[in-house]
Symmetry: C2
Subunit: 163 residues, 2 copies
Amino acid sequence: MTLRNAVLGLVAESPKTGFDLLKDFDVARSVLWPAPQNEVYRVLRQLAEEGLIEQTAVGARGARTYAITGAGREQLIAWLREPSDYTLRYEPMLKGVFLGDGDPALRRQRAADDAAFFKAQLAHLERIEAERTGPDPRRDARRMALHFYRAMAAWADGVSSDA
Amino acid sequence: MTLRNAVLGLVAESPKTGFDLLKDFDVARSVLWPAPQNEVYRVLRQLAEEGLIEQTAVGARGARTYAITGAGREQLIAWLREPSDYTLRYEPMLKGVFLGDGDPALRRQRAADDAAFFKAQLAHLERIEAERTGPDPRRDARRMALHFYRAMAAWADGVSSDA
DNA sequence: ACGTACATGTAAGGAGTTACATGATTTG
DNA sequence: CAAATCATGTAACTCCTTACATGTACGT
């Protein structure tokens, strides 16, 4: 139930519509994964039903703006307070498990593709970091992503330049 | 559908029963996440139905051993060949997105917990790495995990020792 | 014979994916 | 007024999660 918490957290930052959230969930611009449009609206309805967020306005084109409630903020903090689920499911890593057996050319190809992706992400994040000014509540997450992609790039380069 | 590929890959390494696979999916011992018992057997039935694996023996206690077929190996290689899904969903990183806003003490507490976990994982993987001898088909994946946890630990330490 | 490890199954519900569908406003 | 963008919805399906249930073999 991690999309649920993501939505709750994003609404806590400032009141938002489902459509606003969909932009936040665009990978290219942030650390978040792309959430299915569908799910975002379902989760909003669910959170509203549970009283964790509430609809504060209906704008043009039927846009429903939701804001977090007191109960919602409590629940968000409770989630932040509890130990994280450290389960990692990452396809490039899973492929790594099996690439050791097979064709070395395939293994190098995969590592090369991975390296290209990781470096592009790194460049993207570094550009954002450089362009930013003023206070930045997302700093931790972006730093974490920077560490992550830097490590992945180093790994991929290691595989490439290996017998 | 990544559990599916994980099972296919593991069966490709050597013929296995569902019970064998469950041990492979134990997090502590590898890079893989813990798969629900339930799902493993469902996926096995599904793969068998599609002809990607086949039942080669029935042992004691009704243990069904499955081996990969030609079609299965083709599909596995096809999957390894195609570009990975780089979508990352990692709870500690998601929390990082929201911890910037709130209570600094909570932020540091979270980073401290994270650091402890990451370092324990690192120590575990390093011990495995040190104890290993002979050829190692899982080397890439373990190296990747080492890079990953090292980066995460460095990030968490950074948060801790920060204004 | 008793407990433990082996080995699989079923059921119910929640979450995610993909595709399609609909209507309202703004912009040119 | 046509096209693009805004804004949400429905449906069908697959996958994942949690809990419970069942039976077989092995060691002592």
